[in-house]
């Protein structure tokens, strides 16, 4: 935190913890899984021996999977609590659900890329942040389910035909590569290399965003916060 700046708390400790767990378990799984998928490539051997063989890598992979899915389940409970007990609004500027503005923002962003307009005035969650959030749901559903099926193949075989183990392996591998590719090329760009945040947007770890930064990065939200009296205008 720099002295003499005003900050707005954007993420609670729970948000930060849950992102941290997701991040570390994702990296752990992404470093132990692919060597098995690409076992005949030269780098896979080296990477496997780094982990101490298939057995150890498999162990790490499963521990990571366990924490990741745990993180996800806790998040579902968190959502349920907020929606059912706290009666949080499901749609609106504070919601992570997609709404019409996201499409307009996307169009605005593309226009801005080609100098055809101003940068859109974003609300609390930009569309790419929402996309990353929902991608986790899809990823956990696909990779998690198929992963558990492969983890306990004979149990799977008791409920469905063994051919679904072949299917599970296809899904597990393809979706994992998709997730890794997305994180590397899109998520890391948005949170590290964008001009507004270079070399890194620390908000997901500190929870706090400088108000001055908010003002130009998420202008619509800034205006709303000022309107609602949550922050003092600069």
């Amino acid at each position: 935190m720099e002295e003499g700046k005003d900050y707005y708390v954007r993420f609670s400790w729970y948000h930060r913890l849950s992102h941290f767990v997701m991040m570390t378990t994702f990296i752990g799984a992404a470093l132990t899984g692919p060597p098995l998928k690409y076992s005949y490539d030269f780098w896979a051997q080296a990477m496997m021996s780094f982990w101490g063989g298939v057995h150890n890598a498999g162990l790490i992979h499963r521990v990571m999977a366990g924490f990741m899915v745990g993180d996800f389940v806790v998040h579902l409970l968190y959502l349920a609590y907020h929606i059912v007990v706290r009666k949080a609004k499901i749609i609106g500027p504070d919601s992570i659900l997609f709404w019409k503005k996201d499409l307009l923002d996307l169009i605005g962003m593309v226009k801005w890329f080609f100098d055809r307009g101003e940068r859109p005035r974003f609300e609390r969650y930009t569309f790419w942040e929402k996309f990353d959030y929902w991608a986790v749901f899809w990823g956990i559903a696909m990779i998690g389910t198929s992963g558990f099926a492969l983890w306990f193949p004979t149990v799977t075989g008791r409920f469905v035909s063994g051919i679904f183990l072949n299917v599970a392996r296809i899904i597990h591998g393809d979706e994992a590569i998709l997730a890794i590719g997305w994180i590397l090329f899109v998520h890391l760009y948005n949170s590290h290399l964008r001009m507004n945040v270079f070399p890194m947007d620390p908000v997901i770890f500190t929870g706090k965003v400088p108000i001055e930064h908010l003002k130009h990065d998420k202008a619509a939200w800034y205006d709303r916060l000022v309107r609602e009296g949550k922050i003092k205008p600069e």
Binding site: L178, V186, N190
Partner: protein, 352 residues
């Protein structure tokens, strides 16, 4: 007093020896010769009592009969043979019917040499032979020699000890690739992309290779959903059920020989993978070009300022020297200074 007379038999004192002393000496002498003669004759004798290696132990020993394909080596590596499980067996235990009447030391001309080899193996390994005999491989061998015989899988002179259940991953992998895979190339190429073989290739020895599922001599034609297959899987997957065995080991990479559902899933997810990544990367790229242009703009302005700064420094030094000249003209004390220093064009310097 001499109690004992040489040559007296039995000796006095009641001690009975088996043979009279003269005979004992002879026995000893003969025994010594028997024990040491082979040793004196060198290790060659111990390894090769039949003397086959005198000719076949020479690395350059080739078949003298002219052959359009070039000479065939008849060399047998004595060290490697010695290290094999049969290192203590005489050559003739396998090469039956060989006689040392060179040059025609041929086999029983009526019999195929490979058939002799099977019979030899059978004579000492009847159980394995019985298992083999019932297999499809044996049937195929007797039909038209297409199936493997003992030596196709085990080799001949360098057969190693089998470590059932403790085979290394390398052994399992090379067995699949070089032994079974030699004849079942397509099956190996397909199975290669499945978990068990990937794990083996990374050194995970508990994973299954061909013979863990198909047996090595019984040569089981497994079918999904059959009791036999369940039994094979249960060796390592205790909870295996019939349903489990519908897992397919031998699908090709594009899943063309699979149930259409597998192929559909495969096509859907590979398409999804490509489309999503392409869209994501394209979006990021156009974002990047915008920002690159912005950065270049800033860089340009920065460079402009840098040039301005350099020019300002230059001007400042000119001004300083002018001031110095003015000072010397006033006092006239500085000897080397002044003179006709070219006048700087201030206008031009401050223009841009």
């Amino acid at each position: 007093m001499r109690v004992r007379r040489l040559g007296s038999w039995p000796p006095p004192g009641g001690r009975r020896l088996p043979w009279p002393p003269g005979v004992r000496l002879w026995v000893l002498a003969v025994a010594l010769v028997l024990v040491f003669l082979p040793a004196l004759a060198g290790t060659a004798w111990a390894l090769d009592p039949e003397g086959c290696l005198i000719c076949h132990g020479d690395p350059n020993f080739v078949d003298p009969t002219p052959d359009p394909n070039g000479p065939t080596s008849l060399y047998v590596n004595p060290q490697a043979f010695k290290k094999s499980v049969h290192g203590n067996n005489a050559c003739s235990t396998c090469h039956r019917g060989f006689v040392l009447t060179i040059p025609q030391h041929q086999l029983d001309a009526t019999k195929d040499f490979r058939q002799v080899a099977i019979e030899a193996c059978e004579s000492c390994h009847p159980n394995e032979f019985m298992q083999y005999q019932t297999s499809t491989h044996a049937k195929l061998y007797y039909q038209d020699q297409a199936g493997p015989i003992c030596i196709s899988c085990h080799g001949s002179h360098e057969i190693r000890r089998v470590r059932l259940g403790q085979e290394s991953a390398d052994f399992k992998m090379s067995m699949a690739r070089d032994s079974c895979g030699r004849c079942h190339k397509d099956k190996f190429e397909k199975a290669k992309h499945e978990f068990h073989f990937k794990a083996l290739s990374l050194g995970y020895s508990p994973a299954a290779t061909c013979f863990d599922c198909h047996g090595f001599h019984e040569n089981l034609a497994l079918k999904s959903g059959e009791e036999e297959t369940v039994r094979q899987c249960r060796k390592c997957h205790p909870g295996a059920t019939k349903g489990f065995t519908y897992f397919q080991m031998h699908l090709d990479e594009g899943f063309e020989n699979a149930w259409w559902g597998v192929r559909a899933v495969y096509l859907f997810f590979s398409t999804l993978l490509i489309v999503v990544l392409v869209v994501g990367i394209a979006y990021t790229t156009v974002h990047m070009q915008k920002e690159t242009r912005m950065i270049l703009g800033v860089l340009g302005r920065g460079l402009g300022r840098l040039f301005g700064f350099i020019r300002a420094l230059e001007e400042e030094s000119v001004r300083e020297s002018m001031r110095a000249r003015g000072a010397t003209e006033e006092t006239g004390k500085e000897p080397g200074a002044g003179g006709d220093a070219p006048a700087h064009d201030d206008e031009k310097g401050g223009e841009v």
